[in-house]
């Protein structure tokens, strides 16, 4: 046998590697450009933007557009800024994510460790709910919110997002728990642990990665949702996304682009933060759920 040479798939020549990095760099720049423009223009006085160059760095740095977007800008008819709507979104996202994750985890637990006749059909139906387009449910949902007398409120939005989120949350947890050894559950049964004790004491402590995945997914989707927000919670109860739209579409006065940019970044900030804080668990959790399951 000849001495092995280093001529294998893993080693690419210096020129090749430079090329790869160059291309990657270009793509990175391409994707970062919009954010750069938003960030740069949100700290410029309006005059500099309307005066011409959007790409240039500001000559006059100012945080006034941010303050305005947060607390004084005209949203619809009220000069409240985005602040109240930001809290609306928080009040919508946090309960919805918490409820969805808890129910999803319980569903996954039951569907994998307490199998019953027809469980795969039920799981299939729940999966189906993940793929129903939002538009189809708008009218029936409006009717149900009306009957429950929570239309136009944040509570109503929480309900809508919980209904939609449970499908995905269940999918994540079911796949994760499918790889969780059933012998552990049986051992706990023999040890005398009940249904909820097994869940709290045995399964939940090992569910960190998939919980992070589920929370990130739900948080991003619910925070960024516009359609349900615009349909079911206009006015004072509107979430951040709807308020941002109202801010940008205000038809009175001058269009304050710098304030709009600042508002858009404010609206995107929470999801960005969630990714930065928990992002590395995201990949880990996705892998754990998919590969092992």
């Amino acid at each position: 046998m000849a001495i092995a040479t280093q001529d294998n798939a893993a080693s690419v020549g210096r020129a090749g590697r430079t090329f790869v990095y160059l291309v990657l760099l270009l793509f990175a720049l391409f994707y970062l450009l919009p954010f750069f423009i938003m960030a740069v223009n949100s700290v410029k006085p309006l005059g500099e933007i309307t005066g011409g160059n959007m790409i240039a760095l500001p000559q006059d740095w100012t945080i006034a557009p941010w303050l305005s977007a947060w607390s004084t800008a005209q949203i619809g008819v009220e000069p409240t800024g985005l602040r109240p709507y930001f809290w609306n979104s928080i009040r919508m996202v946090v309960p919805a994510v918490v409820i969805c994750t808890i129910i999803g985890a319980l569903n996954g637990y039951v569907l994998t460790k307490w199998r019953f006749r027809g469980d795969t059909i039920i799981f299939g139906l729940m999966l189906f709910s993940c793929f129903i387009p939002f538009q189809i449910v708008l009218i029936p949902m409006a009717r149900i919110l009306g009957i429950l007398e929570i239309s136009g409120t944040t509570t109503g939005l929480v309900l809508v997002h919980v209904v939609y989120g449970i499908g995905f949350a269940t999918l994540y947890f079911r796949n994760y728990y499918a790889a969780f050894p059933t012998e552990l559950v049986r051992a706990a049964q023999i040890d005398g642990a009940g249904f909820f004790q097994i869940f709290y004491r045995i399964l939940l402590p090992s569910s960190g990665p998939i919980t992070v995945v589920c929370v990130i997914w739900l948080f991003t989707n619910i925070w960024n949702d516009f359609l349900f927000g615009a349909s079911f919670a206009s006015g004072d109860a509107a979430p951040m996304t709807v308020a941002l739209n109202n801010l940008v579409n205000s038809s009175t006065g001058v269009r304050e682009y710098n304030v709009h940019f600042a508002g858009a970044i404010l609206a995107a900030l929470p999801t960005l933060l969630v990714y930065i804080v928990a992002g590395r668990f995201f990949v880990r959790g996705l892998m754990a759920g998919s590969v092992k399951g």
Binding site: P181, E183, L184, R186, A187, A188, Q189, I190, D191, G192, A193, Q197, R201, I202, P205, S206
Partner: protein, 370 residues
């Protein structure tokens, strides 16, 4: 009634019956091993004793208490799983005392029980570790500790040694046996390893295809297997089972076997009732250790027959030398002394201990009883 009574128990999944009318009575302090190939129903039976699987019909009782429908935690049993099933998020100490905690035992009693068990299994120094930081043998000990601490009526073991490497498996086997001898508790132990079954048990139930093929002491199972399955499953190397014909020679029933050379070999039976089978075909079962070199033949046996046959392959294993020959159209293994001088290809006079031979009905494969 016996201590653990398995009475006419069946198990069905839908229309498929996987366990057929199992009857086993286990006395207090017995070590019962359920052994069989995978899919024979042994683990299902164990899970039914544990209460993890429902009982389709029949009755299981422990200490005269019928256990059908009783929750696993209320049967006063403990189980050691194949994967050990240690709770990954808890320390060794928490793992061991979890069951006591769930049963509402006060903290002081739990600590005392933990210390006793830890000392018994020599795992005192591991109590603060997580299962992920333990070696296979240590995990095995912790799993046994978790079972022991409950002081149960019956211990259930589900292939507890099959995840260990060969050497550790032998060590742990000895430890389990030692533990049983010291504690004298009742054990039901599932394995597919017939050596584990032979070494550990006071009684063995050999299972196949959802039936208990034979229930008996290791010696009974080994020396007088009920059928060809039990004969070939138990023992390593397996019992030689070769087709033969019964013929009367000088008024004594003989087994006529086809040799690899021309002609036949005749081996006289030790059992007189084989005369009933004169002129008929049977299956002759001879354990490898019953075919030896003449000097190593069992002196206490009063029926040593000489078998001249050509030597096929010799396989020295250190302690013994296994010699393969062709007999009745099949490969037959003989267990010879390690320093035997037989060479491949030569004719050799083997000594066959016919007292240890068994005959099977070729149609039913059941043993022909003397």
């Amino acid at each position: 009634m016996s201590f653990l009574d398995i009475n006419n128990v069946t198990k069905s999944y839908g229309a498929v019956e996987v366990l057929h009318r199992v009857d086993i009575a286990v006395e207090e302090g017995e070590f019962l091993v359920l052994v069989g190939p995978s899919g024979c129903g042994k683990s299902t039976l164990l899970n039914m004793i544990a209460g993890l699987e429902g009982i389709t019909s029949g009755e299981i009782s422990i200490r005269d208490r019928v256990m059908n429908g009783v929750h696993p935690s209320k049967r006063n049993i403990a189980m050691v799983f194949q994967s050990y099933a240690l709770y990954p998020n808890m320390s060794v100490a928490q793992n061991i005392t979890f069951g006591l905690e769930m049963h509402g035992t006060p903290k002081s009693e739990r600590d005392k029980a933990l210390n006793d068990v830890a000392a018994l299994l020599q795992i005192d120094h591991l109590l603060d570790r997580k299962p992920g930081q333990l070696s296979g043998g240590q995990r095995q000990r912790v799993a046994m500790g978790r079972a022991l601490v409950r002081n149960p009526d019956v211990f259930l073991f589900d292939e507890p040694l099959s995840n260990l490497d060969a050497k550790l498996r032998v060590d742990m086997r000895t430890e389990i046996k030692k533990l049983h001898q010291n504690l004298q508790t009742t054990v039901v132990y599932v394995t597919h390893d017939q050596i584990e079954a032979m070494t550990l048990s006071t009684r063995i139930a050999v299972m196949f295809d959802g039936y208990v093929q034979q229930l008996g002491t290791p010696k009974e199972i080994y020396d007088t297997p009920e059928n060809v399955f039990v004969a070939t499953f138990m023992g390593s190397p397996a019992m030689n089972v070769v087709p033969a014909r019964v013929e009367m020679v000088d008024g004594v029933p003989h087994a006529r076997l086809t040799r690899s050379e021309d002609g036949h070999a005749f081996l006289a039976f030790a059992q007189d009732n084989m005369a009933d089978w004169a002129g008929k075909d049977i299956l002759l079962g001879i354990r490898p250790e019953a075919i030896t070199d003449p000097e190593a033949a069992d002196r206490d046996s009063n029926r040593i027959e000489t078998l001249s046959n050509r030597v096929g392959v010799t396989e020295p294993s250190g302690a013994d030398t296994f010699v393969t020959m062709t007999l009745g159209g099949k490969d037959v293994i003989a267990r010879m002394r390690a320093d035997t001088t037989v060479a491949s290809g030569e004719m050799f006079d083997f000594a066959v201990n016919m007292e240890k031979a068994v005959a099977f009905n070729p149609q039913t494969e059941a043993r022909i009883k003397p």
